[in-house]
C-alpha cells in the first residue's frame, strides 16, 4: 500500500512547488536596498530647474519617493490614488521624474493632478540606477535617518497603501517623535 502512495506524495509535492512558483511575479525582483541608506542625489527640480533638491534635505522626515514618467502607462493608473493620499496629508510624496521630457512631464501633471511636494528631473536615468529602478512606477518609503524601509515595485494600490505603507509610516513617525 505504502509503495503506491510514494509517487502520489511526490506528485503532490511537485504540484505544490509549481503552484507556489506560478503565484509569484517574476518581474518583482526584491531590492537589496531595503534597510540601506537611500542613495543621495542632487537633481534640478521639475518646476524650477534652477533650484535643486537633494535626498539629504529630507533628513528627519518620513517621506515617499515615487518614480514616474509621462510615458509610463501604469503611472497614470496609480496617479489618482497618489493625488488622494497627498491630499490626506499622511506623508509627503516627492517625485522622481524618470527619463522624461520636461514639457511632457509638466503637461502630464497639469492633466492628471500633481500629488508631489515637488518632482526632480532625472533625465538620463543616472539617479534611478542608484536606486535600482528598472521600471516605473516604483515607490520608496524613506525614514528620518534616510534609510529605505520599503519599496513598492509597480503601482501603489489601495491595499499596499493601507496595509504596508501607511502603517509603516505611522510606526516610523511614532518612533521618531519619542
Amino acid at each position: 500500500m505504502v509503495r503506491y502512495l510514494i509517487p502520489l506524495v511526490l506528485f503532490i509535492v511537485l504540484v505544490v512547488f509549481l503552484a507556489i512558483g506560478l503565484g509569484k511575479d517574476p518581474h518583482e525582483v526584491p531590492s537589496p536596498l531595503i534597510n540601506k541608506a537611500a542613495p543621495d542625489f542632487n537633481l534640478p527640480q521639475l518646476r524650477e530647474p534652477s533650484k535643486t533638491f537633494s535626498a539629504a534635505d529630507m533628513r528627519g522626515k518620513v517621506w515617499l519617493l515615487n518614480v514616474w514618467a509621462s510615458w509610463c502607462v501604469t503611472c497614470a493608473d496609480e496617479h489618482p490614488l497618489l493625488v488622494g493620499y497627498a491630499r490626506s496629508g499622511a506623508l509627503p510624496i516627492y517625485g522622481l521624474n524618470w527619463k522624461d521630457r520636461r514639457e511632457d512631464a509638466l503637461s502630464w501633471l497639469s492633466q492628471n493632478g500633481d500629488p508631489y511636494v515637488l518632482s526632480v528631473s532625472d533625465l538620463d536615468g543616472r539617479v534611478a540606477i542608484d536606486y535600482g529602478v528598472y521600471g516605473a512606477p516604483e515607490t520608496y518609503l524613506i525614514d528620518q535617518n534616510g534609510v529605505i524601509r520599503f519599496k513598492q515595485i509597480g503601482p501603489v494600490t489601495q491595499d499596499v497603501w493601507n496595509k504596508q505603507i501607511l502603517p509603516l509610516a505611522q510606526e516610523l513617525n511614532r518612533q521618531g517623535s519619542k
Binding site: P32, L33, K99, D130, Y134
Partner: protein
C-alpha cells in the same frame, strides 16, 4: 512601454515638409537642392538619425570589455535577455554606465558589485556560489546521486531475488541424464 521613447525619436514629420509647399513648381528647384544637401549630410551623420545604433566607444578595448561584462548581466526589463542583447532603454542606460566605469578604470569586480548593490544578485546571469545558492548549484547533482543510489540498490535486490538456488542432487542427476542421453543420440 519603454519602446515609445525611441519610436518618438525616429519618427519623421512629413506633414511639415509638404505643407511648406516643397513640391510647388516655384520651390521645386530649391526643394531638390535641399534634398541633395540633406542626402549629402546624411552620409556624414548616419548615427544622428537612427538612435538605435548606439555610438560605439572609440576605444575597441572598452567595447570588448563592455561586451564581455554585459553578456554576464541580466537585463531587468526583459529578464531572459542579457544586457548585451537587450534593446530596452534601461539596458542602454546600464551599458552607458558600465562604459563610463570602464573608462574610469574600474575593475570588472567593482562594476559587477556596483550593479549587484543596486539591483541585487538577480542581475548576474551566473548566480554566485554561496550558502544561499548551494541547493541551486548542487541540487541537481544530489538528485542524480540519489537516483543512481536507488537504482543500484534496486538492481542489487532484484539480482538477489532472482539468483539461482543451487540444484538439488536429484535435479543434478536429472540434468546429467538428459545431457548425457542427448549427447549420446547425437554421436550415433
Amino acid at each position: 512601454m519603454r519602446g515609445k521613447m525611441w519610436a518618438d525619436s525616429i519618427r519623421v514629420d512629413f506633414s511639415e515638409a509638404s505643407s511648406r509647399g516643397l513640391l510647388r513648381s516655384k520651390h521645386l528647384v530649391n526643394g531638390v537642392r535641399l534634398l541633395l544637401v540633406l542626402l549629402a549630410l546624411s552620409c556624414f551623420v548616419p548615427r544622428l538619425i537612427a538612435k538605435e545604433a548606439e555610438p560605439l566607444s572609440t576605444d575597441p578595448e572598452v567595447e570588448k570589455r563592455l561586451n564581455r561584462l554585459s553578456q554576464e548581466l541580466r537585463c531587468l526589463v526583459c529578464q531572459n535577455e542579457t544586457l548585451a542583447d537587450s534593446r530596452a532603454d534601461l539596458a542602454e542606460d546600464l551599458r552607458r554606465e558600465i562604459r563610463a566605469q570602464i573608462r574610469a578604470g574600474k575593475s570588472d569586480k567593482e562594476i559587477i558589485d556596483f550593479l549587484t548593490q543596486r539591483y541585487g544578485e538577480f542581475v548576474l546571469y551566473r548566480p554566485v556560489v554561496g550558502p544561499r545558492t548551494y541547493l541551486l548549484w548542487f541540487g541537481p547533482f544530489v538528485l542524480l546521486l540519489a537516483g543512481l543510489t536507488i537504482l543500484f540498490r534496486y538492481v542489487k535486490t532484484r539480482r538477489e531475488l532472482i539468483s539461482d538456488a543451487p540444484l538439488t542432487q536429484d535435479e543434478q542427476r536429472a540434468v546429467e541424464e538428459l545431457l548425457g542421453s542427448k549427447s549420446g543420440k547425437e554421436t550415433t
